[in-house]
């Protein structure tokens, strides 16, 4: 038991000696990334509550109508029901100024860990994905959106035959349209011609 205790203490100390990742920093990113899911969950909960409330009100009204019917003094026209008005929800990115949108795009780039495979300004992963410094001159916003949400839509020159390090196809599942808009706006600002960003190659027929 003493031996176990000694070994246990040693491994625990070694575990503390390695550099530790900042949990607070990670949580900041996670909070941003899960915001939309949290809102969805809250919306579902709120919808569920509202449904319950409305259901109770409908029951109450039905009971009242029945009561009026039985009393014989129901006049539908006198009810004067208002017409339902529906407004399309506004995109949150639509309210942002272009500068803010670029800033938000940078955060999306960070949160989605694009730097693991791509380089901007000489910083980031190598080899896995192309450097993006001049992507704003080589692709349109629509092409970039298509690439992010459908990675096989086109390839960067020289990256056609990637199998293991191919671009993930998860982004439609984990990013909102607003985030995509912001990310592409940021990428479109990258126009450094000194860096050899590979040209897009579109498969024949696309």
């Amino acid at each position: 038991m003493i031996f176990f205790a000694v070994v246990a203490v040693i491994v625990t100390i070694i575990g503390h000696l390695w550099p530790q990742f900042s949990t607070a920093r990670e949580l900041e990113g996670i909070t941003r990334k899960t915001e939309r899911f949290r809102k969805d969950a809250e919306a579902r909960e709120s919808l569920s509550m509202k449904t319950k409330e409305l259901s109770a009100k409908v029951d109450e009204l039905m009971a009242r109508l029945e009561e009026l019917k039985t009393q014989g003094n129901l006049n539908m026209a006198a009810l004067n029901l208002p017409e339902e008005k529906t407004a399309a929800p506004k995109s949150s990115s639509a309210n942002l100024a272009p500068g803010d949108l670029v800033g938000r795009g940078k955060l999306v780039y960070q949160d989605q860990e694009c730097y693991n495979c791509h380089k901007i300004g000489g910083k980031g992963g190598k080899k896995r994905g192309p450097e993006l410094d001049n992507i704003g001159n080589l692709a349109t916003a629509e092409q970039l959106k298509k690439k992010i949400f459908k990675p096989k839509a086109w390839y960067a020159d020289g990256y056609e035959k990637r199998t293991k390090d191919k671009m993930p196809d998860k982004f439609p599942d984990v990013m909102s349209d607003d985030e995509l808009e912001a990310l592409v706006t940021y990428l479109m600002t990258l126009k450094n011609t000194d860096v050899k960003t590979p040209k897009p190659v579109f498969p024949s027929g696309s």
């Binding site: 038991m1 031996f3 176990f4 205790a5 070994v7 246990a8 491994v11 625990t12 070694i14 575990g15 503390h16 390695w18 550099p19 530790q20 990742f21 900042s22 949990t23 920093r25 990670e26 949580l27 996670i30 990334k33 899960t34 899911f37 949290r38 969950a41 909960e45 569920s48 940078k106 780039y109 960070q110 860990e113 730097y115 693991n116 495979c117 901007i120 300004g121 000489g122 910083k123 980031g124 992963g125 190598k126 080899k127 896995r128 199998t163 293991k164 390090d165 191919k166 671009m167 993930p168 196809d169 998860k170 439609p172 599942d173 984990v174």
Partner: protein
Amino acid sequence: MNRKIISWAVLCAVVLLSATAVLAQIPDPKQIEFPYVGNRTAVWIVAQLHVLFAAFILGAPIFVSVCEWLGIRSNDPRYDRMAKDITKVSMVMYSLAALTGGFFLFAMITLYPALSAWFFTHMFGLVAIAYPLLFIAETLVLYVYWYTWDILKGDKKRRHFAIGVVLNIMGILILMIGNALTSFMNTPVKSPEGMEMGIREYLENVATLWDKVNNYSWTTMNFHRLIGNAVFGGFIVGLIGAYKYVWAKTDEERAHYDWMGFVGNFFGVGSMMLFPLVGYIHASSFYMYDASLGPYMMGDQLSMFWEMQGLMIGTIFLSSAIYMWLSMRRIILPETYAGVVSRPLVSAVLSGFLPGLGHFYNKKYVAGLFWLVWVPAWAVGVETFLDSMEPMSGPMHFLILLRGFPVIFYIMNVSRGFRSANDEPMARPRLLNFPFWWFARFLVWLDQFSLRNVFGVMKFAIFVLILGNLVWVTPHAFVGAVSELTDETYSQVAIPEQWEFLSLMPAKNTAAALMVLMILVCYILYMRAIKVGRIQWGKIGFPAQLLLVLVAFCATWTMGLMGVVRSGIRKYWHIYNVIPDLTGDNYTPTLAHSAVVITILSLVFYLIVSLAILTTLKVGEAKGKGCSMYSWGRGSLFCWMLPCPRRRSVKAESSL
């Protein structure tokens, strides 16, 4: 026996009914907070304990069946005795695996009701039908296996072995079901190419149960965990052998348990040699599924876990090698035997291979040649220094291979330390470019002049330098995000270009391959020594038993560590890209926190295992005491949980 089976069946039924009843009554599940440790750690604790017990009861039968088969083939009764001892311990472990499994299920249902409901809804046949049924079936087979041990002897032994094979098949099937759930959480099946459907929509409307089971990492996880369990089983057998050796009263017992410890360790290390290969294949399945999982696992938040893993695996291999060295001391060898290997050649090949390969891979031939000269020189220097510490003679020559381990450690450390070169968190490497070779030569020259006191100080100094070098090359800090670094700070933390080759896969693969190669050559030399010499079983020293205990502990700890990595790959998702974790526990646990939890769990596991070994194999064998569990009192947990063939007879005797 019937009462036990019925009890377990009732327990399973109650758990399932409770689960369905609870889930049916939760239209809008609210989060319950587990006191003190929180929900995630609470589930972590029960899940990890369950996995440890389950790994033993799946790994031990593999070992037992192999032993039984070897016993049949060789007519050596020691194999049968060992297999029976292990099965006896497995019975207790089996009950504990079931109990912790029940706790795990309860914890999931109460603390993560929405996730549990998802699994019950989408994988009902697997979770609620196949798994419990197989569990009950395995219980039945295990009892049949145990109770027929003394009945199916002699000519009927093969039938008993066949029952063991059936037991193993059931165990593997249970393992595969468990793996289906965990691998699904990591790599849930996506819509096939051309279908253009989101993952959630596909899972809800199109994917079949088989699609969900046969996900991207299921097969590789099956292989990985199967081999892992075999390794674990072997090391725990080594632990049992060590305990029994220390408790042994007679020479015969010491000889048997010395042999048992050796066989357990041999089985564990032998199985472990396959680990790097299956590990890489398993990791590659994550890369194939989603390339962003790779950097997260190997170069981001979880990268330091791999540093720790390298250290633990290195300790396991090194301890096993030292165990063999101690084993060699009890082999009587003929005068003509020589296990000599050219020291400089071994060092040069081992240490030069890696950097040379790395540079040739990168087509930097001149630099590659430089490394091929410099690093071997360094390695030979260390070799010479170590060699000078203790004169070697006769059979001890083979120890040169053990001496190569510091070199391997160095390479492992460097290659892992540099792993982050391509990724966000980067290491700050600094190396001591010290001419070790000449320094070591100087020390040897000093030694020849018998300046032993000065030599002792110098030896200590060089030892500190080697250690310092090792510490220096390890990563010093994480960098939060590359994009936030200025050009100046980036250059400070970036890996120097001339060292970048060490972060390449060939470098890492070579380090792992060398580690395996070293231990393999050690075993070959050992087996050669056994062939020409005579082993004095029971003459091994006490430190060797401590090494067996250390190896078992390290194996358990590493399992816990890799469990955190496997689970952590999901990032902030319960099921990756499908169900987000919106609780406050959705961040990656730090290595420090994980180390504390894993250590506590390993200690708890070893406390229980030690108690199980003590009750089943020590107390039970005390003469005239009857069943081991009975000796702990009728009402004890083990007494209730285990079938006790002798208890009935003891009760009958007492009633007379």
